[in-house]
């Protein structure tokens, strides 16, 4: 079908972060939900209002960081869990710094380069479990509005002598027409065959599928990088923090069929030099029946649906309230 995502680009190059949304944009995105509007503010984040350095009197400022699940791919700004928090808790403003297709490294850099000066009272960090892979890459496979694949460069951290070292800065720019540069392995038949074999075994041997083995061991390099980024980030803050790892949809729909203990164990093992609440969405979502959990994402797009955002917001509200009281 002749479907573009939208009539316009909504991402631009940024030499520190890799990419950001184009500021002051109003775009309609085609989607299986019938389409939705994406609005960005003066700083290039999805928001109906501009972010100001100064906050209002008696207003507590909450900031949320994450990737497309936080930025709100698939829903309008007002339907996101961040905006639902603001609507349901008095005297707070929630600034959503979510950025689609970003790693935790980029989310941390957004905080450091842009958000930090806005003086938060509470920070919510929401890494999608898959971000652990993005953190390891210097470029990510993307798709243009007209469906062409290309690689977009990003900054990343390496652990050198027990320290995090920022690499790929300034981030190299993307060439205008580079769709032919996709490496063969991204679409290789072998990859598809291996994936099918894995699925077959998981299904027939009734063993739990491990989608994110990167969380299996404390010593895996992917986890070490994730842990280092989060530790550095939280330790730099002088306000309360909530850490909310976002599981993959299969994990919260079928926790009996997919390995989840590994990532919970890893995140629970984190030690910071300040208080940090952790929200276990997997556990929170088990309050709902399977049909309801299935409604938290779309049929094809596995980002949160409006129902998913409501469920996340409901999990967050009591903890945000109590964190702000501290």
């Amino acid at each position: 079908m002749n479907k573009l995502i939208s009539c316009r680009s909504f991402i631009e190059y940024n030499e520190s972060i890799g990419h950001l949304y184009i500021p002051d944009l109003f775009v309609r995105i085609m989607h299986e939900n019938g389409g939705y509007f994406l609005k960005t503010n003066n700083r290039g984040f999805r928001s109906d209002t501009d972010f100001k350095i100064q906050k209002g009197d008696k207003i507590k400022r909450v900031m949320v960081f994450g990737d497309s699940f936080t930025a709100g791919d698939g829903v309008e700004n007002s339907q996101r869990y961040s905006d639902l928090l603001q609507a349901n808790i008095r005297d707070i403003e929630v600034l959503n710094f979510g950025l689609s297709h970003s790693g935790t490294d980029q989310q941390y850099l957004i905080f450091k380069e842009i958000a930090k000066e806005m003086k938060p009272d509470l920070i919510i960090i929401s890494p999608l479990l898959e971000n652990i892979r993005r953190n390891m890459k210097s470029e990510l496979l993307n798709q243009t509005q007209d469906g062409q694949f290309f690689f977009r460069s990003k900054p990343y951290f390496e652990i050198q002598e027990s320290e995090l070292k920022l690499c790929n800065i300034p981030v190299p720019k993307t060439k205008l027409f580079n769709s032919e540069t996709i490496p063969a392995e991204e679409h290789s038949k072998l990859r598809i065959v291996l994936s099918s074999i894995k699925k077959f075994f998981y299904k027939n041997l009734k063993i739990k599928a491990n989608i994110f083995p990167e969380y299996d061991s404390e010593n895996r390099i992917e986890w070490r990088v994730m842990k280092a980024i989060l530790t550095k980030w939280v330790n730099e803050l002088d306000c309360p923090v909530i850490l909310m790892p976002i599981p993959w949809y299969l994990q919260f729909e079928h926790p009996d069929k997919y390995v989840t203990e590994n990532y919970i164990q890893r995140f629970n093992s984190l030690k910071f030099n300040r208080e940090c609440d952790m929200i276990n969405l997997l556990e929170e979502f088990q309050k709902y029946d399977l049909d309801m959990r299935r409604s938290f994402t779309y049929k094809y797009d596995k980002h949160f649906s409006p129902a998913g955002h409501i469920a996340v917001a409901e999990s967050l509200i009591p903890i945000v309230k109590s964190s702000l009281k501290k």
């Binding site: 002749n2 631009e12 019938g34 060439k175």
Partner: protein, 610 residues
């Protein structure tokens, strides 16, 4: 606050699919799908055009009152079934080729709309020629008017005469398929080696190079015309009822041989055939216009349908002073039916009072109804891809561009909302200095990569139009052809004697040779500064510098490519061709400052030739 009446018009599944959106009778947005998908004449369901219309209007799906479809698929199916039965067994190919599209999509439009937009609201079907008529009458500046629609075919109708008054339209007479002036023109387009539903414009452009020596042959064999303009085709010579070919062996024999192969040399024969069918078309259109005048007794005429894009014929109606005023829908092809269908629903179904502008202008807004890109988006594009560009101060913009034009630079001009309809009107245009005789062939061959004979249109300051052309009317949509004024002409002897089109084209014909066709005609666009003030300012500055109030204005694309839509499309086209400068809103890009442009594939393979 009362709920707004929001109507989404859709045309698709034949050619040039499009969407249009009106709110309380005001045209808010309209666009062809091809601009987004980059597939010329894209006929698929216009997902992207609809998406754009909703974006432009900031309309959520649940705010749409109704969807208007541009024709009646049941009547179209009726025509196809009857044609197949009447021509069976030869005609069964008609069924196998046409029915799946019709039954597969048109009859299940509601499901498609639900799939893409999750909308379950009434879909109202407007008849095809009613859609054309509405697209012509309602946006026009007239309270009442005769209406003439002529195209290939829509359901059964091919030509209609009607009358519009206030919020109502009545069709008084129709000519039915297979008798179709549009299909006759298309058949000859095909015979001359051009693509049907696309190359008709080339045939019209070729006509002045030839002599109408086949006119009698056409009247004697192909079409019989009555005094009131009604006509009948002699189906012995046409293939389109029984097959999917426009013509048959009898047609070829009539013209003394097989059809010209596409891309082969154009000979005197094709030029003469083009001149002949053009003259026949003009004569029939004139008769139809006279009949429309007789039945309506109106001082005004509005027109739509593919044949209304024949600006030479339109110019003849004006020249003959049959009506005092003429208004032609700039998106006269089927794309414009999306707008017409929406307007039909608003006025005829919802019975709303007519919405008109208070200043007497039309409601088409210069046909600048398409997408625009903000300064921030342009900046982002340039920054993201490290494209060298200079920002011009707004007060220096027009002068800077005019100076470049005066120094013979050819400029890709991208500014404001994109045009709705097939003509570039100064939003997505290539512009140049018309005073150089070689500019026409140079621009055709080095920039547009198309046939050298293709004429370029002039865009002229409204207040100066009569200094150059035998015209003193508004022609904002480039739909009227007018002769260049005698005092602006130069002696020109070679017309009709040579087959070397480049040689003919390069001979100066007037003080604005690049926009003067070989018969001294020009397809005029007037600009008055209301709908597109930035474009007006550029021409005005060019006039201040050179004393010439005219520019070349041609569509911003290469051959076979839809007109550019986005900054990226514009930059690609700029870099692939020999344009000197690209204006992206308030940024100027100079070719010599750009980095080398490499593509892994030959871009000319990207677009099918038309």
């Amino acid at each position: 606050m009362s709920k707004r009446n929001v109507i989404l018009g859709v045309s698709c599944f034949y050619h040039d699919s499009a969407a249009a959106l009106i709110i309380d009778g005001e045209i808010i947005a309209a666009s062809q799908e091809e601009r987004f998908t980059r597939i010329k004449h894209d006929s698929r369901f216009p997902v992207n055009a609809i998406n754009y219309c909703l974006e432009e209007a900031h309309i959520k799906n649940n705010e749409i009152t109704a969807i208007a479809f541009y024709d009646n698929p049941v009547l179209s199916l009726d025509r196809i079934v009857r044609s197949v039965i009447s021509g069976y067994p030869e005609s069964k190919v008609q069924w196998t080729e046409n029915a799946p599209g019709l039954i597969g999509y048109k009859l299940f439009l509601d499901e498609l709309i639900f799939d893409f937009f999750k909308l379950k609201i009434p879909i109202l079907y407007s008849e095809h020629h009613f859609s054309h008529a509405a697209s012509a009458f309602y946006p026009s500046p007239f309270d009442e008017s005769a209406i003439l629609t002529i195209d290939g075919v829509g359901e059964w109708s091919t030509t209609t005469i009607g009358y519009g008054s206030g919020n109502s339209i009545e069709i008084s007479s129709e000519i039915h398929y297979p008798h179709s002036l549009g299909l006759l023109y298309s058949a000859i387009t095909f015979y001359c080696g051009f693509k049907v539903n696309s190359g008709e414009y080339k045939l019209m452009g070729l006509a002045p190079y030839g002599k109408p020596v086949f006119k009698d042959l056409i009247y004697e064999n192909l079409i019989s015309v009555k005094g009131d303009g009604s006509y009948k085709l002699n189906m012995k010579y046409f293939g389109f009822v029984k097959s999917n070919s426009m013509i048959n062996d009898d047609f070829c024999n009539l013209f003394g041989g097989p059809a010209r192969k596409p891309e082969s040399r154009i000979t005197k024969k094709e030029m003469d055939i083009a001149a002949s069918i053009q003259l026949v078309t003009e004569e029939i259109v004139l008769k139809l216009a006279k009949e429309a005048k007789r039945v309506s007794n109106s001082a005004n005429l509005v027109m739509a349908g593919g044949v209304a894009l024949n600006c030479v014929a339109n110019g003849k109606i004006l020249e003959n002073k049959i009506f005092e005023n003429i208004w032609i829908q700039p998106a006269s092809g089927d794309a414009g039916c999306s707008l017409g269908a929406a307007l039909n629903v608003y006025y005829l179904y919802f019975k709303k009072p007519r919405v008109k502008s208070s200043d007497g202008r039309d409601m088409q807004k210069g046909s600048l109804l398409g997408i625009s890109y903000s300064e921030r988006e342009i900046e982002s594009f340039l920054h993201t891809y490290s494209i060298p560009a200079k920002k011009i101060k707004i007060e220096e913009r027009a002068k800077t561009i005019a100076e470049l034009l005066a120094s013979q630079k050819i400029i890709g001009y991208f500014s404001g909302r994109m045009e709705f309809g097939p003509r570039s009107l100064g939003a997505r245009s290539i512009i140049g200095d018309p005073r150089d005789a070689k500019m026409q062939s140079d621009m055709n061959l080095k920039i547009k990569f198309r046939e050298s004979f293709r004429p370029f249109a002039p865009v002229v300051l409204r207040e100066k139009v009569n200094d150059y052309f035998e015209l003193n009317e508004d022609s904002p949509y480039m739909l009227l052809v007018s002769p260049v004024k005698k005092e602006a002409r130069l002696e020109f002897e070679n017309k009709g004697t040579s087959e070397d089109l480049i040689e003919i084209v390069n001979i100066p014909r007037s003080i604005i040779p690049s926009v003067t066709h070989v018969d001294y005609s020009a397809r005029v666009e007037t600009v008055d500064g209301v709908d597109n003030p930035k474009f007006y300012d550029v021409i005005k500055e060019f006039y201040n510098i050179t004393g010439c109030a005219v520019l070349i204005n041609t569509s911003f694309n290469v051959r076979g490519e839809p007109i550019v839509c986005s900054p990226k499309d514009a930059y690609k086209c700029f870099m692939r061709t020999n344009m000197d400068v690209l204006v992206l809103e308030d940024y100027i890009l100079y070719k010599e400052e750009q980095t080398e442009f490499k593509e892994s594939k030959n871009w000319q393979d990207e677009y099918a030739l038309d």
